[in-house]
Assembly symmetry: C2
Homo-oligomer: 489 residues x 2
């Protein structure tokens, strides 16, 4: 294992975290809040440590897939733990477990909260809390790759570990250019949303926080009722932006490089929009009696479907009171998740596409046993390896899901709470049903369950494998054995 | 498609069904019940039709995997539809949907019932109802293979379609001998249970019906409270027999052929027993406060775990009232299911073993990317094809599961009812939780939902693929195109 490189990457990550704290500091200065002092001190500390540790580039910058996994997992742990310190020092979230939960929930773009009164937080902390969503949405390592040049395959191993989806989002041949391109699109869309919200009557502070929550498909609201008390036209705008951030960013890349034909042929985006339309229609029909008008019923349906499938987690209504079919469909799209190569979580539309196509081929092989057929997606052949890795993803997903439920079930809450709390954290959504419904929060869980959820959130955000490899003792064999060899030699 | 062979197989199936009706007829004669007339008339009719249709062997007895799937699916539909007629004619279950539901639930060894008062049924019908479990447990086509000689690969294609588990239960080289061996073990164990129950004080009628329900891992009780009102020692006996029938029959074959060393090395049986012990211990601990003594608490736990993991579906207590962790574990083992090559349902222990080993290998491949590793089970290499087919099984399972929930959810029952009713039918268990709990039944569902459950029960019993191929229009292309070609030629 390349320890020097690991320390270098973690240093850079801490440095970035410190620099990004400038935004809440500026915000706190404008509002004249005392919390600014704590943020400023921590930012200085993080920048200093990060700079010292990553000042000198290691000679050997090569990292293998195993090191990539460990580096990614550790980066996210460093982000969450260092990011939670201001909440503790300002005494806004005094408990360590709660503070890590809230910060991990932010960075992993889950949006599950242990806060019973969000509006009691300072503007400084609210801004930092929403900013974690934005940083976590596209990923801090992708950002690192965009700004730091690295050796050949190494950056690929990092990007693969952090980017969502079964196939790597390698838009342009060079990884660094891809990372840059992703961030350009990400920043442009975020700025666009801030402007649209601001000019449609939302205060600037609210616009920025909401845009961060939408862009990262995070879900932290800055009001206790999430989005319910904002004007209806704000609901429409946020719903549309949530859907936009859940689409494969390749789509925007193709649009900006003037290849609209290719962009609109992307089957994942088409299926994704199709699912949204289909599910919204059924839910709209089933909840029609609960709302005053067709507009309201459609708006509430679309907003909730968008928030569930993109795994954002905002809410404009208490969907826990909806009829069973609506709740079932919301939970189903929570599992499906957004597109690969987006900021959204969940299992991802393309994994289901590969699954469907594999089933179809299997049926065909029963009917015409002698024909060899391959699975295709957007004209590209999906080989056995991809099918295999998608299957593995489902296996590991199932395992973590059942294991998490097992631990949480000891608390004795109802089965819907247990099931949807794990669903909502592992898929990085936020709210679930019953006791973790959109008007509730996660404060009542025991610390053990909260750590299970923290694990699930990070595992879900990193698409399982990096965190699994990170926790496998065999991954560190080399480190423990090395000194022995030196003694022998 | 080999239509002549298809008709031949279906004829034999009907013939067997008619012959098997002799048992309820004898039972009805002993009790002097008027329903006997209807059973006798139908039995005569089925035997006559079956005999006429399958009198002449087709010249070409070869069937391919596609035909095997269609033949299997059609056999089970014929069994269920023809088997339900006596219930309708005796007016004990007048509705066609309900009668098919009850009979399909019997043959598929599910044990879900639409009857609100089981004890109102005649002895004749109760015996027929329990007998369907026994027939369905080992499979009518396996029986057919045991008695009718067929061409080389053809019988394999039939057996593969009907036998449970990812690998075919080919105990001895010749399929016919395997089928015979399976039935010998099956009959011996059933007779053993009848004798043990009878000599432990159960009435003979009850002993036979209970043994049929246990052997097929079915679950129909002949009392309204299932097994609750039988004596405690009966609970222990039935629990042990349920566990025995859920073990891989290969285990008994190895024991009878004096290879105990090999038998006790079978990892699937070991894992299966390990899961039962582990889950029973936790549940026993969690429900200890609800029962008077350690014996009762252990007995109730073991019985309910045995009934859930073997997917039998008997009950001695209302486990819907148990704490969340106990309910969660029961639902979890319902999904795991029994061993491959047993009469039990569910996903099967060995599928999970293959899944775990594949995950383990994947993690190793991240840590040592250059080493090629293979998945082994009991010393045999599990190749990519088996892993692939297990993955496909999970995919199709997921699809049917979510699709079924989607339709049932329109009825508006609570999510636990919707979730566990699909779980209980697709895994061939019977009772679930909430409105389909052990003290409830399926009578309140709409006809649409009942047909979904009938589909799920048959799909679950046949391990998904045969029923999927049967429903694929492309499977019948040859039949529809053929006349066209004749016209052209």
């Amino acid at each position: 294992m390349n320890i020097k490189m690991l320390v270098y990457i973690l240093g850079k990550v801490l440095l970035i975290e410190g620099v990004l704290m400038v935004l809440p500091i500026v915000c706190g200065l404008i509002y004249g809040e005392s919390q600014v002092v704590i943020y400023a001190a921590l930012a200085a500390l993080y920048v200093a440590i990060g700079f010292l540790v990553s000042f000198k580039k290691p000679k050997n910058m090569t990292i293998f897939i195993k090191d990539g996994c460990v580096a990614t997992a550790l980066s996210w742990i460093v982000l969450s733990v260092c990011g939670c310190i201001p909440f503790m020092l300002t005494k806004e979230i005094p408990s360590f477990t709660d503070a890590v939960f809230e910060t991990a929930s932010g960075f992993t773009t889950t949006g599950a909260s242990i806060l019973t009164n969000v509006e009691a937080l300072s503007h400084t902390s609210l801004m930092w809390r929403s900013l974690t969503h934005w940083i976590g949405g596209m990923g801090v390592l992708v950002f690192l790759l965009a700004v730091v040049p690295m050796a050949g395959g190494s950056n690929m191993n990092l990007m693969r570990a952090e980017s969502p989806g079964p196939t790597v989002g390698k838009i342009v041949p060079r990884v660094r250019s891809t990372a840059k391109m992703l961030y350009y699109i990400y920043i442009a869309l975020t700025v666009l949303e801030v402007l649209v919200l601001f000019f449609c009557g939302m205060p600037l502070f609210d616009s920025i926080c909401s845009a961060f929550g939408t862009a990262g498909t995070g879900g932290f609201g800055i009001r206790n009722d999430s989005f319910a008390s904002y004007a209806p036209h704000i609901h429409w705008i946020v719903a549309v932006f949530m859907i936009m951030f859940g689409a494969n960013f390749n789509f925007y890349y193709l649009l900006t490089t003037r290849q609209p034909g290719k962009a609109f042929k992307m089957s994942e985006v088409k299926v994704y929009l199709g699912i949204i339309a289909f599910v919204t229609a059924i839910i709209c029909f089933s909840v029609y009696g609960m709302y005053g008008s067709f507009e309201e019923s459609l708006r509430q349906s679309l907003f909730q479907v968008a928030t569930a499938i993109t795994t954002t987690g905002f809410a404009t209504t208490d969907f826990d009171l909806w009829p069973s079919i609506a709740k079932f469909l919301l939970v189903t799209v929570m599992f499906i998740g957004a597109c690969a190569g987006s900021t959204g979580g969940g299992i991802k539309v393309s994994r289901f596409q590969i699954m469907f196509k594999t089933i179809k081929r299997e049926i065909e092989s029963y009917i015409h046993p002698k024909t060899v057929r391959k699975v295709h997606l957007d004209g590209k052949t999906i080989d056995g390896d991809v099918v295999h890795s998608v299957a593995l993803y489902f296996f590991i997903y199932l395992l973590i899901f059942v294991g998490s439920m097992f631990i949480v079930a000891f608390e004795g809450h109802d089965l819907v709470t247990i099931f949807t709390s794990v669903t909502a954290t592992l898929n990085n959504i936020g709210p679930g049903l019953s006791m973790v419904g959109p008007t509730q929060n996660y404060s009542f869980f025991s610390n053990i369950s909260k750590w299970v959820f923290i694990f699930d959130m990070i595992a879900g955000r990193l698409e399982l494998m990096p965190i699994i490899v990170f926790l496998t003792p065999a991954a560190y064999k080399g480190i423990i054995k090395k000194p022995k060899k030196v003694q022998n030699g």
